[in-house]
Amino acid sequence: MLKAVILIGGPQKGTRFRPLSLDTPKPLFPIAGLPLIQHHIEACAKLEECKEILIIGAYTTNTMSQFVNDMQKEYHVIIRYLQEFTPLGTGGGLYHFRDQVRAGNPAAFFLLNGDVCADFPLKELWHFHEERPNALVTIMGTEATRQQSVHYGSMVRDTTTQSVSHYVEKPNSYVSTLINCGVYVCSLQVFHTMADAFQKKQDGFYSGNGQGSPHPGYMSFEQDVLMTLAGTNKLYAMQVTTWWSQVKTAGSAIYANRHYLELHRDRVSKDNPCTILPDVFVHPTATVDSTAVTNRHYLELHRDRVSKDNPCTILPDVFVHPTATVDSTAVIGPNVSIGAGVTIKAGVRIKESIILNNATVHDHALVMYSVVGQEASVGEWSRVEGTPSDPDPNKPFAKMDNTPLFNTDGRLNPSITILGPLVVFYDTQWRIWGGAILYIRTPYGPPDKYNEYKKKKRENYHAKKRLTKDLNPKERYNARVIWRIRKKNQRERVRNLNRVLERTPSSSPGFPDADTDAEQDVADQNKNYDVHQEQNVLRFSYSWSSKKGKNESEKGQIQNLSRKR
């Protein structure tokens, strides 16, 4: 029997994924239509020997329970979420729940970082581990370029035995191009090594040499376990050549999206020409590529709304959620994921983008290299355009560069454009580009039109009130209840978002950075880049762009507005 452990970190992490990580925990961010870690679960569930999947993180059980239940139903594997009482690092959490992992005496367990995306070759990894009886841990490794390898865990491998003779996490200078993918197979004996490391940590913490550890139980799997095991013939590495990437920034999400869509395609297209979920209407004259997933006309209702004779044009690979409504004149793809309840209006063009739940893209808009947040809305004839940040295709083994948000001049680095949740365009025909990030509920448009927009909103409010006045008591009651619930939900969502924001600044200074998602490390600090600054800017960043293209360079800069409580 085998088990799998997925480390997902906590809400304090994933800061570079903001504002997208504010209302959806990063591990549940949909990539190719599935939450990020569902891809992990899918890979584990495919392996027959794998009987239990443990998810360890610092998110509250509430946030995760729905997802865990859904997964359990879908994959018929025992899936449990174990919440750390405080962030314990990549090793600490695992060690804390060691009895849960040991229970049932599995032969070994997989350890997967939640923020990696790959075509997980778990079977091969397991066989590789099995063949080497003295292996405690086998690391899945991949080749990176010389320059990029220093941003990852670098390892030196004995060519004949494949054992790791040297391991260093994020070296300052070049060590090796073989890097750690954050996917491991561990034997249960690894807990002995961890126990020693744990003991050492405890001793250090209580004798005052904790080096700023926030908690005596804090432990990094890479630094405290892998580095001690390197050179003892107990640590092995298997090199894979399949696609692998980390999801740190939104730019990498778009990249991952493309590859997962491609992977799904292989799975989907085998037996039927085109995947069709129930209640689909495809006209005989329509051309649907075999790889398109045309499930968007899921509901009969939608079918009526969508023009009958030709479904929208889809350039593979595209994922469209069954409940999304896509106008027949829209052109979608390649590399697009469209979430639940999304409305895509007439003449819209979307490519290389992720559209999250309940967002609306109005007529004639163009969205490319962007992420559109939940319930955001893009105005008509608008152009939302990011800068593609894929790894250099001409360099073999190049990985996604997770560049910091700002460059040394304090300008935004060109990247994927992100519209945060509930961002509204209150005027049409605007252009956003080059890595702009609009935060939650940011109304976007010309300053002079803002009052108009507010006035209209106020009018809507009064109109609604007037409407309910003429209804009979029962109807009025119903309307009000619905209205109140809607308001309440909205308020609550905002409150939750704010709560996340307020909590995060306290994420302790000097937090060691080898966590699943911490990389505000030396390199970044050298660039005068600190967490507080980032928050300040991100929270109230309005990237006003004018319809006229002048002062382009000036506008690429985000305005740093003062923080209000």
């Binding site: 004149t329 007439a346 003449g347 063009r349 490519k351 007529d363 004639h364 163009l366 490319m368 004839w381 152009r383 355009e385 025909q429 252009r431 580009w433 319809k547 006229k548 293209g549 002048k550 382009e552």
Partner: protein, 369 residues
């Protein structure tokens, strides 16, 4: 070269076509500037029509290059108007006064005053009033002046209340006057004696002397005026022209669904569904605007195609150019003749030379060779 067999006593006009129109490139690479359509009609034709209305029967074009093109294009149009067209070729550029000397023979055949105008001026041409005013004061010449907001960029004209010009001041640092030379004059043939056959500037080498002899008067122009020699001013001039057209002759403007504000659309153009066109757009003959395009403050020249869902603001789209789907073009972008802009691109202030195919976005204003 000639057409001077008309009888004496006719009103003549000289249009200074001159120049290569470098400022209106890339459009002038394919067509001489006076033939570039402004509001669906060559700039020169606007002027000739106004002159004909004022009773002018002979128009002399002082040209230095591409006269054949103009001759071919204009002869037919102009003969319809019942006016004779004479070309006066300059073998070398003669400035703004030299061409008058070159056409001395034609101009001095009668003692009647003649009109002189620069070819890139668009306004409510006041030729009738100008002639009347000129006769009323009886001096050698009258200049049309117009009010501008920023006179420091131009040479201003200082004149008395009765219109007699006192002096000209080039680019005044301190405010002296906000009236500038509008590039339209009426002169008596006697002025020709002040001009020699050499490169000469009428503004600098003729008018100041006339003013000091108290022989020059100014008439203020009512309504709009624009020098359309540059793309930016071309579009501004178009807006002004359409506004004045709305007041004078609004049935010429297009009125239909999806049109906002003052829009001029040639009857042979095709407009798709769900478009939003206007304000201030002129669309030339045989243009195709496909479904869902949005065009504002732009000129689309003959035979061009704006494909689906494109968005244009402040652009001049050259003859037979194609603007791809979901393209966004703004900030005084000028496409020359037969340019293709591929789908989904963004062009900010690009000046694209003829016969070019653009496959990459142009984020900063630049010339694309």
């Amino acid at each position: 070269m000639c057409g001077s067999d008309k009888k004496l006593g006719e009103i003549r006009a000289l249009i200074l076509v001159g120049g290569y129109g470098t400022r209106l490139r890339p459009l002038t690479l394919s067509r001489p500037k006076p033939l570039v359509e402004f509001a669906n009609k060559p700039i020169l034709l606007h002027q000739i029509e106004a002159l004909v209305e004022a009773g002018v029967t002979q128009v002399i074009l002082a040209v230095s290059y591409r006269a054949e093109d103009m001759e071919k294009e204009l002869t037919e149009e102009v003969s319809k108007l019942g006016v004779s067209l004479t070309f006066s070729h300059e073998t070398e550029p003669l400035g703004t006064a030299g061409p008058l000397a070159l056409a001395r023979e034609l101009l001095s055949t009668s003692p009647e005053p003649f009109f002189v105008l620069n070819s890139d001026v668009i306004c409510d041409f006041p030729f009738k009033e100008l002639a009347r005013y000129h006769r009323s004061h009886g001096k050698e010449g009258t200049i049309v002046v117009t009010k501008v907001e920023e006179p420091s960029k131009y040479g201003v004209v200082v004149y008395k209340d009765d219109g007699q010009i006192e002096s000209f001041v080039e680019k005044p640092q301190e405010f002296i006057s906000n009236k500038i030379n509008a590039g339209m004059y009426i002169l008596n043939p006697s002025v020709l004696s002040r001009i020699e056959l050499r490169p000469m500037s009428i503004e600098k080498e003729v008018f100041p002397f006339m003013a000091s002899d108290n022989q020059l008067y100014a008439m203020e122009l009512q309504g709009f005026w624009m020098d359309v020699g540059q793309p930016k001013d071309f579009l501004t001039g178009m807006c002004l022209y359409l506004t004045s057209l709305r007041q004078k002759n609004s049935n010429k403007l297009y009125d239909g669904t999806g049109v906002v504000g003052n829009v001029l659309i040639d009857p042979t153009a095709t407009i798709g569904k769900g478009c939003r066109i206007g304000p201030n757009v002129t669309i030339g003959p045989d243009v195709v605007v496909e479904d869902g395009a949005c065009i504002k403050r732009s000129t689309i020249l003959r035979g061009a195609c704006v494909r689906q869902h494109a968005w244009l603001d402040g652009c001049i789209v050259g003859w037979r150019s194609v603007v791809g789907r979901w393209v966004r073009m703004e900030n005084c972008t000028v496409l020359g003749e037969d340019v293709i802009v591929k789908d989904e691109l963004y062009v900010n202030g690009g000046q694209v030379l003829p016969h070019k195919c653009i496959a990459l976005s142009v984020p900063e204003p630049q010339i694309i060779m």
